[in-house]
Symmetry: C2
Subunit: 160 residues, 2 copies
């Protein structure tokens, strides 16, 4: 029954809320989790603890990758680009998004963020509140992601 | 600042949970809403009350449409097809999805459903529990949706 592909990400809601500690020992605000938290994002691409689970794998039918990330307070991605851009749906909590050369934006539950193709940007949680996001990568035939340098504490903390 | 397009779907969470009545007067289970419920889906395309809000409008950069639907208990879409398929992310509640000629599937919070291109299908809430879903339509250069006949009560109620 390949034509109906239901990916039972979780047959029982294993986790209905999360309370995780960041590297400073601060506890995350309890977020309403929809999916299992998945795997910890690798230290070479993230600062602090960001948990990622893939929801839709790449294929030639949809050419779309979808996943979910929980950023623990203080956690953020490296600077990175996507060759065909990225759409973020913030489903809980509060965090930041910044495009290189622009002011850091505060984003929160219910916001939708578009990151244009090949534009250098990062996103992550606020210092005191975690952030949950669904990410959508369209047109994957153009590629997925190019990871770059870390977001320094100065970049993270200063809204310039 | 067009390169950073933050669509503030809601600057304050206007609705943190919903409790709506379907046409039979049954109350929906309280769902954890992420977005405003939006506009009622037109009666020619839906049975019962389904509320839709667009999150990402079509454009030539992403060629992707994203939105959110709350199906009140008993509410469902008509049979329909998408020329490039559809991805559903179930974010709360419980409902059904069916591809023509196959058994009706129960879907719930945390599930991901792929509806292949040009395959006749419908989706909606269960009789007693509402369902919240994010829908993703990729490759919109191929088209969006073709609406067809209503899902009868017999089709809705019988899991054959």
């Amino acid at each position: 029954m390949k034509s109906l592909l239901i990916t039972a990400i979780t047959s029982v809601a294993l986790i209905t809320s999360s309370c995780m500690e960041n590297k400073s020992g601060n506890k995350a605000t309890e977020l309403q989790t929809i999916f299992p938290i998945g795997e910890k994002g690798p230290a070479e691409n993230f600062t602090g603890n960001a948990w990622n689970i893939g929801l839709v794998a790449n294929d030639t039918t949809y050419n779309t990758v979808v996943g979910n990330v929980y950023f623990v307070p203080g956690a953020r991605s490296n600077w990175h680009t996507h060759p065909a851009g990225q759409i973020l749906i913030i489903t809980d909590g509060e965090g930041y998004h910044q495009i290189k050369g622009q002011a850091r934006q505060t984003i929160k539950k219910g916001d939708v963020v578009k990151c244009p193709p090949n534009v250098l940007h990062w996103h992550g949680a606020s210092p005191d509140t975690g952030m949950q996001q669904i990410y959508i990568l369209p047109k994957t035939e153009k590629g997925i992601v190019k990871w770059l340098q870390k977001v320094t504490d100065e970049e993270y903390n200063i809204n310039k």
